[in-house]
Symmetry: C2
Subunit: 176 residues, 2 copies
């Protein structure tokens, strides 16, 4: 790679909707600029039909990888959870350091950190020492303070109102 | 159209980043489900190269329209501002009522309402009486209370930290 500026660290957190969809939009924006993107999903099953189909239109420039396990990372097999998390994180590090991508998205990664599935200090070090020119987007609730401290851009998606609370069920094309 | 449920009204507001990118991601998700989308940009110039290029990949299912004028809607020609806003809003209503779209996005529409460029009561009435099966996403800062009251889902994007404040300039593929 040619000499580049330090990439940005962007955190999308909070209890509201729009974290993953925003990361998706961010990936499209980068791809539209001809920047190769690696989008890694740490929570298996959190992505639904709609976005997976849409991503196929970017298969030449966005690598989309589903890693990890189900939503809670709290199964009855902690050993296996850790092994899966370690493998996913290994993949993420390889992507960050490969020189192939200008944007790497770690979708729902905060859960993996918060459940203690990866070593927090090792994660912080890898993020801070990634090659120049690699922007990083991390999504998920409850972003750890250490991440926020070193981030360039942090947006909290705050839920003001949600129709689930009115008893309306999830709708195709909107939630999935 | 066949008999359908009432579509959702989704508001993406707040002073943080991620409102338009989230609406973009939402459009991709709908398109991935085979739902035709009409994405109307009310602030001319707010969309940059990256997303416009990316949108071209969805030209079979997402109609993307740039309406309106520059960012402030406060030019030295109020008459012209109102005329342009009226035309854009007319287009939006036609899209909502056409039966062609399952999702209509009014990007940065709150500014048009807040600057008094369109009749607020007429807007509220058109939104509430749109045909069933049409989801509506409205983005922009300072969403009016009336909109929030009738919305199904409201997310506030709250700026926690922004690198502009550290003196880092906007970067290609991230901000544009």
């Amino acid at each position: 790679m040619t000499k580049m500026e330090r990439g940005l660290l962007i955190i999308l957190t909070g209890n509201g909707k729009g974290k993953t969809t925003s990361a998706l939009g961010q990936s499209m924006r980068a791809a539209g600029n001809g920047m190769p993107v690696c989008f890694i999903q740490f929570i298996k099953g959190s992505w639904k039909y709609g976005e997976i189909e849409a991503m196929k239109r970017f298969s030449d420039i966005i690598d989309f990888r589903v890693m990890g396990r189900g939503f809670t990372w709290k199964s009855d097999d902690l050993e296996k959870d850790r092994a899966v998390a370690a493998e996913a994180w290994e993949y993420a590090q390889t992507a960050m350091n490969s020189g192939r991508y200008r944007l790497v998205v770690l979708d729902e990664f905060t859960y993996v950190i918060n459940y203690g599935m990866v070593d927090r200090d090792a994660v912080m070090s890898a993020i801070e020492h990634r090659p120049h020119g690699v922007h990083l987007v991390i999504t998920g609730r409850d972003a750890p303070e250490e991440l926020i401290n070193v981030a360039d851009l942090v947006t909290e998606m705050r839920e003001v109102k949600h129709h689930y609370k009115k008893g309306i069920k999830a709708m195709r094309g909107i939630e999935f």
